[in-house]
Symmetry: D3
Subunit: 247 residues, 6 copies
């Protein structure tokens, strides 16, 4: 089984960290293939970056599907482009936020997602509501620029731990979800330190991808995610015309 | 006051129809400026088309803002790219679906949105829920390809009327929302025929845009819609780097 | 276009302030007509005052409709009598709370309504939920008797600002809604001071009224708001018999 | 214990029917006192009738409280004026809809309310949502003018039974709530005929009133239902000035 | 009328306290019969204790029904086994939490439940949501082991009062619900002290039981609560085979 | 990795079918251990059977944990005893309904669960709501006694297919969830026949169990699922005293 981890941020070091987290939990016989988008923002911080990142992301998923990937994971906690990717691809596509919150919900009645920037907090709250966990999860922002997570000296970990402690003290959190792909390496350590489950989205998504593939399940092509209809695409988006989209 | 109507579908005849609907309701002193995206799909039918249409759409909004537009309207009922546009722009940005459902909610306790394709039905249902009208509105699809609305001989009107009649008979609809920019010309006729309010998203959005501008209100830049942070954008998306984004 | 602003509080100075706010945003060709209820409480503070204010309010709307008004606005943030007025009138009727929260929702993902008295807080929370914004808006009470807003020396502004500051600091508010007709004159100043959109219900309602009238839309008479049935009314309410109600 | 049944419809025969239903379930030592509003519509059908009925209704509750009533029941399934009455009175006030749906919820997971006119259907749906039963209850209208329930030859029973049968066949109803005070006499017969619990609002409200009084519980005067503040009332509403309102 | 109070905790002193509270509010002609489960945990603290307590509880309800009880009350605020009991019994079955929250909702728009242990807090929150009061009620835990309520010297009352005070100051609570059967004796005193309604679940359930019986209402046997189907039960659960279940 | 499948129905043939489905999807290195409860009903049909089945179920989970199981799956679609099991066990515990609906939600925006008996329909609807999928999933009952699924000649498959066809035609279902452990063998065939994803709860739960174990995640012991407190258990339930519960 081959699973694509595609980073819609164009920063390669983030991809590496996500791929490493993915490989750490991948099952026997699962190959993790990592790709970094070549077209888009260095980091996704809010709605604008997210929207611009989607075409480059879809390009990588399309290429990976042609090359034989069995599932794809979008390595950004905002689940950027997830619905478009599910429409495009024949293979299952997983998002980090969705995978992480359904995982946390198997472990705890109440949990808190700790993300990076305040501007992403409500965006993730809205995702959590859409995924049906609005009554069970809170979202906190730790005020960490995404790329600071690549830099050990940035004080990012201190800020992150401060929010975890507040989640335990004030939110009644029974588990923690790390709300950024770039935090994948911290989950085990924090879990040990705080004595509650700490869920990383990359790991969660890898296991959901494996789960779907080994059950012979893929995205429904009836209704919402029906394959794109053939039609002209113009200008710089010509390359995305769906008649050339997939198997 | 100058209001931009931007069509994220690259089909110019649709833009013309929307602009005409907009001008029909625009207030004294409002200038309607219409733009058609130059980069993207000929019509937006589902999540994939929608996602690819966004960058081209944002380009038009950015250009119009630089050129002095006071508000922008995204002329697609899926509210494609609405959150990204609000993040990018300093001027208010309106979506057709959001504008139409809040308008219908001022007129009726229960209403039905009639859209084009089944693949867009759940997408619009999800928008309706997000806009707080999930308990008040139903969504029906009339099985009309978007571009058929440009063609009088396509039988589209018959299908549309069939769904309106079912909405009145089975949904308890007290008003109807036309769920596609391409239906803008039909609202008045259908309202007369069925004796219930028929809301067109383009008209509704123009009036909401005028309302915001004349109240001196624009998108909050605190939190969710804070202006994009300066950062490198790579590949074909370089032109979208946010440091060159705003006025 | 003639828009009635009817104050269901019987205090004329409040009507004047609302009319002034209305005129400040009214479009070219819109005439604002103000009326003060002659029958009811000097101020509406809670459910009891609100219920008693309704018949006097309906009388003014009926009279204005006969006199040719194109729309009516109920100048009380509790949206007192809104559903009854929509049932009575053939012209559109707008409430301040409904108009303000749908306006704020076009500008911000999260916002806070600041109202006067604690006894009105839950009442407004319930309206906000009914209007579909329960997940997006918080409501705070500033502990200001309604009539104190008429008195510059009352310290009302200080209390109001205290709650706005708490909304920004603790609620994650991205915009503020002023939750009382008597605060209409403060919106622009507060918006400048706090750097977030500050929405006034009177202004918002005027623009919604204009929007509906210029779109040729009025309250649906199918279902919930069907015109009152002719029937005997007895005692002091005889004057309200619906057979004499219409235009 | 003395419980007031006040009919906000001014039709005395309806009051008699409600009082009879009340007496049939009243406990040992409970005296049922019936009053008919002297000011308002002959029957309440929709929002307008309901709003005009409230002052006359409140007058009766105030008088009964002064005369020593221990609790009051508003004998209209729309729960007309319920919140105002709770604000006014020191004694508990019960509504038929609220009492009936909480009773049905003790007996069944899913149930259907059958009311009279289509124009009241959504109004009751909204009440059901406000009382927390939106996911458990459906509402159907039997197309019966309220006063037809006073007339045995009107065919009202046939229409009512038709909707009960549809509720059982299509809604998965496990119990039925009769959604009009004028149906109180039919509950036992229908329950026997259909083999599911049939809840009458008058009976349910009497038992809730007794329950509160014998527990020493009454409406909270903290927050939402705090007693009306003393203030001038003008015009025909002068008699309602709250300084003369309570014991 | 004979009402069974069955304590699913096997601690007899708790049963006595509940029976005493029940008798204090029981109507003329109501006989309270108390039973203590003979099979299960000494106290129910969390999901595990609750699940194990159910069979012993059902045994007592079955026996009481055979012996002629008219209704049964499960004397544990977690509403342990309530749905199973309603399926088993022909007579109405009441839970403390459900009875208490619907009672509080008749008295106040917002209220707080104060329970014993943190591990029960979310369990009760989930019940409150299921009973439709999620938007109106908060739940607080006072950190009191259940059996400490049997011991006057345990400091339990101080902890309970601390949470009531916080509920009034921070939650906007307009009424308090005591969230444990073992607190039944404190309601009246606390109500006097804090000046807001204080609802005890045992009292509330007794009055709901009386209400249902005197209305001739019992659990629907259509759908969710249909009588158990005859079938083999094996091992230590043989005694529970439903063919021997009925009256 | 060793995963326990415990059947809370005491019918061994059902266990075998579930174990077979489990083994068909289990990953390399996963050992499936099946156990059948020795204490309880032959089949779980409704709330009563479900409640009585729990202690026998917990006994098996406790034994398996002591014997070294890494995760446990409760092989009943009602998720009988799931919360109690999570409280008891140190290892992760999965339910079929929860696992299946979160899996379906990764594949489709809207889906329908087809269960066996009408009496289980609302029970499963309530689970679906609790798991956050109330707005996305419908539940249908095929009127099949649970044990008929063990009998090829019973016509069960015809009834099941009838409901799947209705789900596709009327519910807008984009995927199907089989709502009974006894249907595990049918998923692949039905998926091929209807061309939409068909999710089986047993398979889904196995993959979720593997996912949690390989991520080093287990049920939070903070808050809702804290380990049972030591205390006396009496009567036939003495064997369940929690001081002997843990590893």
């Amino acid at each position: 089984m081959r699973i694509l981890i595609v980073n819609p941020n164009t920063t390669i070091s983030m991809t590496e960290k996500a791929a490493q987290a993915a490989r750490a939990v991948a099952g026997h016989g699962t190959e993790i293939v990592a790709a970094t988008s070549k077209n888009g923002p260095a980091s996704i911080e809010g709605h604008y970056d997210g929207a611009i990142a989607v075409p480059g992301l879809l390009l990588e998923i399309r290429a990976a599907q042609v090359a034989g990937a069995d599932a794809a994971i979008i390595a950004c906690f905002d689940d950027t482009g997830l619905e478009a990717a599910r429409t495009l691809a024949e293979i299952p596509v997983l998002g980090l936020c969705e995978s992480a919150v359904i995982t946390a919900a198997l472990l705890a009645q109440r949990f808190t997602v700790v993300t990076t920037l305040e501007r992403s907090r409500v965006l993730i709250e809205n995702l959590v509501v859409r995924y049906g966990m609005g009554g069970r999860a809170k979202v906190r922002a730790a005020d960490i620029p995404v790329l600071d997570l690549e830099d050990n000296a940035s004080g990012a970990l201190v800020k992150l731990k401060r929010q975890i402690e507040l989640a335990l003290a004030e939110d009644g959190a029974e588990a923690i979800v790390l709300g950024c792909a770039g935090m994948a390496d911290l989950a085990r350590t924090l879990q040990r330190e705080y004595g509650v489950p700490v869920v990383d989205g990359v790991s969660a998504a890898v296991k959901q991808a494996e789960a779907l593939v080994s059950q012979g399940l893929t995205t429904s092509k009836r209704g919402s995610y029906a394959a794109p209809l053939a039609k002209p695409y113009t200008g710089s988006m010509q390359a995305f015309a769906p008649e050339s989209a997939g198997p």
